[in-house]
């Protein structure tokens, strides 16, 4: 006799051997009956569900065929979860589904919505089937409800977790993007800095640039600070450190986009501009970088 876990949520949930407990025996008996009903009416119930999804204007980012295909998979995993009482397959399907639909803009309320719709569609079909036997209907619903709740919960939580993971990943990507190290020519990198520089970002920027210098074997780096909002002593010192660290790796840094105000600030706080290679604008900086690299720019015509 197999040990079977009965996960029925808050009402009378027990773990024990089937047969040992009359009520438990009855529950699994009822779920078996329920499962066979859902299997027999698979086509019709699935279509009904998809119709309700469309009607409720859920999953609008997906085509009808896609909705139908996903609905089929969810339906089958759903029935399987009811039958076996194990949620792993459903859980992994929910994660997989979320991974595919999150990039297409499917929202949490839509996912919760479709699962609740399925629950409703199935409950209605149970009403229809057992409407003549009220007693039995009650017992079936008692067996079905907790399992259905748990399934809805599993799918929704799976979706939300996946969404959070995607958001974290995107934040990381945005951070990386906000300090892009671009290779414009062989051995020449450009680092356009935009926005506010705090110590953490300054550090990230420097580390990224140093790694970039090594992987691209860069000889010259143009740091463009046209987009830097403000420059105080701390930020200025970070900039100087970035220039110095790059030189330790054998790369020459040209700083461009230094506004007169920022130049003034740097002089006031004692940064020796003479140590820094500065050129008015990005274009001029790239030209100088090319000269340093030995490129000669010749008009084609």
């Amino acid at each position: 006799m197999a040990k079977k876990e009965n996960r029925t949520g808050d009402t009378a949930s027990h773990v024990g051997f089937a047969g040992e407990h009359p009520r438990l025996e009855a529950t699994s008996e009822l779920l078996r009956e329920l499962v066979s009903h859902l299997r027999q009416n698979r086509t019709q119930l699935r279509e009904e569900w998809v119709r309700r999804i469309t009607e409720a204007r859920l999953l609008t980012a997906m085509s009808q065929e896609e909705i139908f295909a996903e609905a089929t998979s969810v339906y089958d995993s759903y029935v399987e979860a009811l039958e076996t009482g194990t949620f792993e397959a459903l859980q992994s399907y929910a994660r997989n589904l979320s991974e595919r639909i999150i990039p297409r803009g499917v929202e949490t309320h839509e996912v919760v919505g479709i699962v609740l719709l399925l629950r409703d569609v199935l409950a209605r079909s149970l009403f229809a089937k057992y409407q003549t036997d009220f007693e039995k209907l009650n017992r079936i619903l008692d067996a079905y409800e907790p399992a259905a709740n748990r399934i809805a919960n599993t799918v929704a939580v799976g979706f939300v977790q996946e969404r959070e993971r995607v958001i974290r990943q995107q934040q990381e990507a945005i951070r990386e993007l906000s300090t892009p190290v671009l290779q414009v020519r062989e051995r020449l990198l450009i680092l356009p800095i935009i926005g506010v520089i705090d110590p953490q970002r300054a550090r990230q920027l420097t580390e990224q640039l140093l790694r970039g210098i090594r992987t691209n074997r860069a000889k010259v780096v143009v740091i463009d600070i046209t987009g830097v909002a403000a420059m105080d002593a701390t930020v200025a010192n970070h900039l100087v450190q970035t220039v110095e660290a790059s030189r330790l790796l054998g790369a020459t840094v040209i700083v461009t986009g230094l506004s007169p105000e920022i130049a003034q600030t740097l002089v006031t706080i004692g940064v020796e501009l003479g140590k820094m290679n500065t050129v008015g604008d990005l274009q001029g900086g790239i030209e100088q970088a090319e000269r340093l690299l030995g490129y000669k720019v010749v008009p084609i015509s």
Binding site: E207, N237, V240, E244, G270
Partner: protein, 133 residues
């Protein structure tokens, strides 16, 4: 987690040993290779100060834990002459050339937290911490 690691500082070889121990511990705690390098460099400077100004002393390394993060603590202690003007010793002039003095401002920049206690004629104790990012 391992208890305190103590490295006696009495020769230039000990400086290398202390910083290697520090790097290993930082690495074991999951510090990035970049942060492990900062920790090792700070230990090197602290150990060097001991050797230069007090001849002998000790570097103690310890894994530490706050509510939501892990870190490493380094205590450099000696019974040397002590520092007359602690404030001056840690003053940061951002000078990048010339004499480096005790190198304490640099150590302060390498680490997240920095504390120094010194008594003339009795010795110096520098405590620094770095937290995992």
């Amino acid at each position: 987690m391992a208890d305190e690691i103590r490295v006696a500082i009495a020769s230039d070889q000990d400086i290398v040993l202390a910083r290697q121990r520090g790097r290993t511990l930082a690495f074991e705690l999951g510090f990035s290779s970049s942060d492990s390098t900062l920790v090792a460099t700070a230990i090197s400077e602290l150990a060097r100060n001991i050797l230069t100004y007090a001849r002998t002393g000790e570097i103690a390394l310890k894994a530490i834990q706050s509510t939501n993060r892990q870190g490493i603590m380094v205590v450099a202690s000696d019974e040397g002459p002590g520092i007359a003007d602690v404030r001056q010793a840690v003053k940061d002039g951002f000078s990048t050339s010339g004499s480096l003095g005790l190198g304490l401002p640099g150590v302060r920049r390498l680490m997240d937290e920095f504390m120094i206690e010194s008594e003339l004629g009795h010795g110096t104790r520098v405590t620094v911490r770095k937290w995992k990012q």
